[in-house]
């Protein structure tokens, strides 16, 4: 891959993306238009995240890529390989060893630090899109802070279902100003959006970048009498016994047998390595899987 520049993108493009990132950090939650490039992977498969990662990576960085919380899902593997090949950076599966973490749909369980960057892949950056399909209209609604419609949606949820029926991509308000889509993370992860690390959101196909600087105030939209609730499956992880992590449900057989396991594979492995054992777990062995 010597034909390509470090991290694939040419330096001019990276500068353009960095400008968009800086603008995003300066106006938290505001969607900055950027001239997204065609990447060698399909739009909708993380091209926004990849471009943002490429723009912030330096050769000394250690990178981690997760999809659905796991390092070994095929798209995570594919993106990690892309950066190994085009940037030659070291990669890791350990959250705490990573400088840059690119993620799709999850925030790692382990709290991130100030010297880390979390890059999200975003399919539809516009939280108002499914209420108003026109970009020209939604930009105006953001500019004028007209967010009544967003609450109408939540109101309708409650009147129909007795609860807010948004389970992921749960909208948030950033520093009391912009309503933002936190990307399709489960609402369980929403409280973690207030964190020490820099969070960058890249939407390649929709040509938008937005950002949360460290310790930004992020409030999940709700009603006083129907407060936001960060819920998860009411189980413990069957492998490591953790009670507080987000869980994947795995169907074991066709008789209704199932087990619940941590969606964050690194977190689960670390716990098992430290001796925690869940209801169906075996004692941890190095490279067991």
């Amino acid at each position: 891959m010597s034909d390509y520049n470090f991290a694939y993108l040419d330096e001019q493009t990276k500068r353009m993306i960095r400008r968009a990132i800086l603008k995003g950090l300066a106006v938290p939650g505001y969607q900055v238009p950027f001239a997204s490039r065609e990447m060698p992977m399909p739009y909708g498969w993380g091209t926004g995240g990849v471009q943002v990662s490429a723009a912030v990576l330096v050769p000394e960085d250690v990178m981690k890529v997760i999809d659905q919380g796991a390092d070994d899902t095929t798209n995570a593997v594919s993106i990690r390989k892309f950066f190994e090949k085009t940037a030659g950076v070291a990669t890791t599966e350990h959250t705490r060893d990573a400088d840059v973490i690119q993620t799709r749909h999850r925030i790692p369980e382990e709290p991130l630090r100030e010297d880390q960057i979390l890059v999200y892949q975003v399919p539809i950056p516009e939280p108002l899109r499914f209420l108003e399909p026109r970009e020209t209209e939604t930009r105006k609604m953001h500019a004028l802070e007209e967010y009544g419609l967003m609450h109408v949606k939540l109101y309708e949820d409650i009147s129909r279902h007795g609860a807010i029926s948004t389970a992921y991509a749960y909208p948030v308000k950033v520093e009391g100003r912009y309503v933002m889509d936190p990307s399709p993370i489960p609402k369980f992860d929403n409280p973690k959006l207030e964190m020490a690390a820099v969070q960058l959101f890249g939407a390649g196909r929709e040509q938008r970048i937005y950002a949360l600087p460290p310790y930004t105030q992020v409030v999940s939209l709700d009603f006083e009498d129907f407060p936001f609730e960060a819920s998860k499956a009411d189980h413990a992880c069957d492998l490591c016994g953790c009670n507080t992590s987000y869980l994947d449900e795995v169907i074991m057989d066709d008789a209704g047998g199932r087990m619940f396991v941590c969606s964050d594979t690194d977190f689960c492995r670390e716990r098992r390595a430290a001796g925690h054992v869940g209801a169906q777990g075996a004692p941890y062995e190095e490279d067991a899987a």
């Binding site: 009544g148 609450h151 409650i158 009147s159 129909r160 006083e224 009498d225």
Partner: protein, 256 residues
């Protein structure tokens, strides 16, 4: 007494054609002004200019804002004008479809304005929505139904509830009874008259129907070809029209 709303030599042109020209008037708190004229007289253009839906080419549209006193709404920033549009002002469209969200329940329709100005308690919002549905004679058990399931008269009453829930200080109405059956019109007019009196509403009502203004308006403005041809107290204008056009308008009704 400061007027609530003051219009000074307002004009709007479509190319060389006059939409409306040289319109001036004051509206005082609690007053209802009727604007009548046949279609094409410029009354709808005027109303849309007053409400900020159209940008006038000349003149001023002053409103007595809560903090800044009388301010020209034509030159104020769009965010400020839109803020007025969802707080102190309300607009009732002739076609309820234009003023309602057809895919949202009746409760959500009424609640939207409350939420737009910061209401965040579901129970309170719903209670207020139900209260307002009651005031416009829509049964509580319809609160979760969508307006598409409502009759034309009910849709119009829902639109009125949606507009009045935040206690606006000025209501613009564009042919609010147009397109409804006569019996439905009468009921709606009764309801509107009750609300106007009870809430002390200030309103500007555009209509071609003199019965509407006789019942609702304190003062009347008659428009023809984009110009105001006669103004005065409603009874005065209707009982003793001075301008030839007004005489024609009044006599054409009386003959019915």
């Amino acid at each position: 007494m400061t007027p609530l709303f003051q219009v000074k030599s307002l004009g709007k042109y479509y190319g060389s054609r006059i939409g409306c020209e040289d319109v001036s008037f004051d509206l005082y708190p609690g007053e209802v002004m009727g604007i009548v004229g046949e279609s094409g007289s410029g009354k709808s253009t005027l109303l849309n200019c007053l409400a900020g839906h159209l940008e006038p080419d000349t003149g001023e549209v002053l409103f007595d804002t809560r903090v800044g006193g009388l301010r020209d709404t034509v030159t104020m920033s769009e965010p400020e004008r839109r803020m007025l549009g969802r707080t102190d002002w309300a607009f009732v469209y002739q076609h309820a479809r234009d003023g309602l969200r057809m895919g949202v329940s009746a409760g959500g329709n009424v609640g939207e304005r409350l939420m737009a100005v910061g209401a965040r308690h579901y129970g309170d919002i719903r209670a207020q929505a139900i209260d307002w549905l009651g005031r416009v004679e829509i049964a509580e058990d319809r609160v979760d139904d969508r307006p598409s399931a409502f009759s034309g008269g009910m849709q119009q009453r829902l639109q009125i509830a949606r507009n009045l829930v935040t206690g606006p200080r000025l209501v613009f109405m564009d042919e609010p009874t147009g397109g409804l059956d006569v019996s439905v019109q009468a009921r709606l007019l009764d309801l509107l008259r009750g609300l106007v009196r009870e809430m002390g509403l200030s309103a500007i009502i555009v209509t071609h129907d003199l019965a509407v203004v006789r019942l609702l308006a304190d003062r009347l403005m008659v428009m023809k070809d984009g110009h105001v041809v006669e103004t005065g107290l409603t009874d005065q204008v209707l009982d003793d029209p001075q301008h030839g056009y007004t005489q024609l308008l009044v006599s054409s009704v009386l003959q019915v």
